[in-house]
């Protein structure tokens, strides 16, 4: 009986994939190409785990492009987006270290960005100490 229930659970999570994108994959891309790459993954029904984070203007552009796509792509309802980064309370030396690492890597690689299609990801609940990915049934 227990085994049966486990099998049913496995079937339920069969509809999506998670894709990890290292920062090096988008480092040399311009904003247009970055957003295009991200949306291509999300439209393929994958949850994207991106190393690093986008610039604020890229994030707002991503939201704008997502809105434009809702009308044109059947069954696409938008995205869920969350960035997990340091809270900026690392102190003076911590900040210097953080800036050096970012300068050397060419981006904020200490952060993680999660982007998923709204049809799969119902909500990304964030609290200062935890992050929860709620999936649609």
């Amino acid at each position: 009986m227990k085994k049966k229930r486990e099998n049913r659970k496995l079937k339920k999570i069969k509809g999506f994939t998670m894709q990890f994108l290292p920062y090096s994959e988008i480092k040399n891309l311009d904003s247009d190409e970055r957003i295009k790459k991200i949306l291509k993954i999300v439209l393929g029904n994958s949850i994207l785990i991106l190393q690093g984070k986008l610039k604020p203007e890229e994030e707002s552009r991503l939201i704008g492009d997502t809105m434009a796509m809702i009308e044109h792509v059947p069954n696409f309802k938008g995205i869920e987006l969350a960035v997990i980064a340091g809270n900026g309370n690392e102190g003076f030396f911590g900040k210097i270290k953080h800036n050096i690492v970012n300068t050397l890597s060419g981006g904020e690689i200490g952060a993680i960005t999660i982007i998923g299609p709204a049809t799969i990801v119902k909500e990304i609940k964030r609290d200062p100490k935890k992050i929860e990915l709620m999936l649609n049934k």
């Binding site: 939201i63 809105m67 809702i70 987006l81 900026g88 964030r126 200062p128």
Partner: protein, 214 residues
């Protein structure tokens, strides 16, 4: 003769100064249903007698940018003139089925969803044109929402002064401290736009912020 020349000289300087001074563009940004239009309405009603737009419990009631020109706000004897810009709520997803819960017909829900997506695009485009922005958040909701962080990040990148308003303090679930701890670098003012609570502190903060506009 010398006095007349002197008078004309000053007159020209001062007229030029005031002619060039435009109204401060005050934008209201935030997620849907946070109370942006309620707050803008409250201010407009108090100082012009007219409202800026309609409010509703249904999310995305404001689906296009709304303006009110020449709103002269008076606070403690000081006056400042603003162009009020109320923007549609910014969201990362819009599903027409969500509107059906509010007893909206299917056809109307689809139209509403389509207009709401365009409204989000319009709001984002308007970010560049603001002088000062008030971010209106619902203090009964979790503030750790990426949309809020994205809006603030964009304003900081554009060097636009920001004030965070924690609205709906009249509700039991309201938690202004949670908003303060989510955005420790910004001034947070708790208000109730619906009941007009704590607006004095809000006006004081808006005046302080408006002075930063170059």
């Amino acid at each position: 003769m010398a006095i007349k020349v002197f008078k004309n000289f000053f007159k020209r300087i001062f007229t030029g100064l005031f002619k060039g001074k435009k109204d401060i563009k005050l934008g209201f940004y935030g997620p849907p249903n946070a109370g942006k239009t309620s707050l803008a309405n409250r201010i407009c009603k108090d100082f012009t007698g007219e409202e800026i737009g309609s409010v509703s419990k249904i999310p995305h009631e404001t689906r296009s940018v709304q303006f009110k020109e020449k709103v002269e706000i008076e606070y403690k004897g000081k006056k400042m003139t603003f162009k009020m810009i109320d923007t549609p709520g910014i969201a990362t997803k819009i599903d027409y089925e969500d509107f059906l819960k509010y007893k909206v017909g299917k056809k109307e829900a689809r139209i509403r969803a389509k207009e709401a997506t365009q409204g989000v695009i319009e709001s984002i485009k308007w970010l560049d044109d603001m002088n000062v922005v008030v971010i209106v958040l619902d203090s009964t909701q979790n503030p750790y929402n990426q949309v809020n962080i994205t809006i603030i990040g964009n304003l900081v990148a554009r060097k636009i002064p920001v004030l965070i308003v924690a609205n709906k303090i009249d509700l039991k679930k309201s938690d202004v401290k949670k908003i303060e701890s989510a955005f420790p670098e910004y001034e947070v003012v708790g208000i109730s736009a619906r009941k007009g609570e704590n607006l004095e502190e809000f006006y004081e903060s808006v005046f302080k912020l408006a002075k930063k506009v170059k």
